[in-house]
Subunit: 191 residues, 2 copies
């Protein structure tokens, strides 16, 4: 029980440190200090910082509320928009810092760690698959233009979101989210 709790504290602190400072800047000691555990205890639970990063990506995915994307009780186009509004509002709440951990790891470390690259890829693919399903359902309901390939469009929309977070962090302005909502929901999907 105690070991499980310590592992959990390391995962939570790792996610926070990676998200705030980046992969390279967050050292094992920073993470164990933030978790309030001895540095040596880290290696009882993880073979490396890299192994913790893989778990952190999975844990981060749990906070994206992806299940709500598949909630058939809500109109599909509405829940797609609400999904990105939720993520935007989270970013605004954090002063438009940190961005998306998955995107951050792709730009910083995916070239140098196959296991982190694969974990990030897997998270992006699962996310895109849920967007694909929502788009296909919206096409069935007649609220998204019928000639779009839902899978290609989902990948594009997710990429546009990740890039929007880059611009938002450069501008540190809420206005940076406007092109995404205007162009995706006002133009691209509506036709």
């Amino acid at each position: 029980m105690a070991r499980q709790s310590m592992r959990e504290e390391i995962v939570e602190a790792g996610l926070e440190q990676f998200h705030t400072h980046g992969y390279s800047a967050a050292g094992v000691k920073d993470i164990t200090d933030a978790a309030g555990v001895p540095k040596g205890s880290f290696y009882n639970h993880f073979t490396s910082k890299e192994a913790l990063a893989v778990v952190a990506i999975q844990r981060y995915g749990d906070g994206l509320r992806l299940r709500e994307l598949a909630d058939s009780g809500v109109d599909p186009l509405t829940r797609l928009r609400e999904h990105f509004e939720f993520l935007r509002d989270e970013n605004l709440h954090r002063g438009i810092t940190r961005g998306c951990l998955i995107g951050n790891f792709c730009t910083e470390i995916a070239d140098h760690s196959e296991v982190i690259r694969e974990a990030a890829q897997d998270s992006l693919h699962r996310w895109a698959a849920l967007i694909t399903a929502a788009l296909a359902e919206a096409q069935g309901a007649g609220t998204v233009r019928a000639d779009l390939n839902p899978e290609t469009t989902a990948r594009f929309v997710l990429n546009a979101w990740e890039g929007t977070l880059i611009a938002a962090r450069a501008d540190r302005s809420a206005d940076a989210f406007d092109p995404f909502f205007d162009l995706v929901f006002g133009t691209l999907l509506a036709g």
Copy 2:
């Protein structure tokens, strides 16, 4: 003369190290080693690694062939597409690693350095302004749908490009570029 040349070697090595390894992972010693100059010489030319990063962003922008975006001798929609095809091909040539230095710095370090954030923001704004002008010119020529706001659309397209590089690095696959070209040139701009 000698000092100018040493400064130039540090800038080139810094750009390469930052682009390959990221900001935090590229230390001053890595940069001076790569440049083949003594570590102590760094501070004759730059007050800090941060100061070098600002110059590296500007230098990186010079390699984006942004001037070609404004070449009025080429049809505006064609030159916009050729611009992104050039960048895609550069990425393929590098094995789909490194991505865009500006986007990388935004995700890794913009939250922690105002001068780097401002330099990245400035580069993105100048890039978006050239895309805006090309889009407006294409609208005048009737090759881009007239109801799009060129400035908002330019920011969106640039964000979509930056996010495409994230997905491409996660997938490490040329296919990752397809949604960008399909959706931007095949759908969004064409209407």
